[in-house]
Symmetry: C2
Subunit: 118 residues, 2 copies
Amino acid sequence: MTDQLSKVFAALADPTRRDMVARLTRADATVNDLAAPYDVSLQAVSKHLKVLEEAGLVSRTREAQRRPVHLEAEVFDLMTKWIERYRRQAEERFSRLDSVLAAMDTDNATQQQEGTAS
Amino acid sequence: MTDQLSKVFAALADPTRRDMVARLTRADATVNDLAAPYDVSLQAVSKHLKVLEEAGLVSRTREAQRRPVHLEAEVFDLMTKWIERYRRQAEERFSRLDSVLAAMDTDNATQQQEGTAS
DNA sequence: TGATCATTCAACCTATCGGTTGACAACGCG
DNA sequence: CGCGTTGTCAACCGATAGGTTGAATGATCA
């Protein structure tokens, strides 16, 4: 799981982390701030933040003894790009090729694009 | 991890599963078709499909002894909605409130949003 | 210098993930 | 019917995720 896209998806697969991200869209926050609403240890929250950071979703600066967490929204584009790309492809298939493929499907259902691949 | 959004993100956090989804945008496929390019057992692929299915990303119909896998692209919208919602919020914060919030942040850095949210 | 707040590191535990192999179920065909 | 094809179920395994507690670090303040 080295690629960033995987990391971003994995990071957002956790409801707690999604909630953190949601709150960070409103304002930067410290670990303590972020931890408050949840019923887990500070260390657990710290770990969640590490995951978000490694996915590139947040960054952290030092400010006195605090380490405010800041959302890096650009990474969202990485996901959106991926999603949109394939959604568009899927939609095209349904609108344009529609009945054509439907016929082919019932016809030689076993056959695949790629065929015997290589 | 009961909610669908979590399941969808988790499902797409795996490169193999993302690749399967990508290929399914081009055409429906059987388990065997899908397994071909990967260097793993059929059972492993079957498991991946189960994950995708439980996330609502694919559906399967029975057709003779085959079980063609079909992409359900609507679920993409669930993600897109979530992402866009918070990305927009984040962008607004940077463009509109920008310096205002920056000042507030340094001021009462410990404080959390909401509160005085004028 | 020492107390204290904010945060992280380290070790540990349990559950889940992604993979394996082996057995089995469902269907179509000779 | 028996056989191959297609796919799943079950048990197992090592690695990782998410949580815990306890100790350590770092910065500020009295």
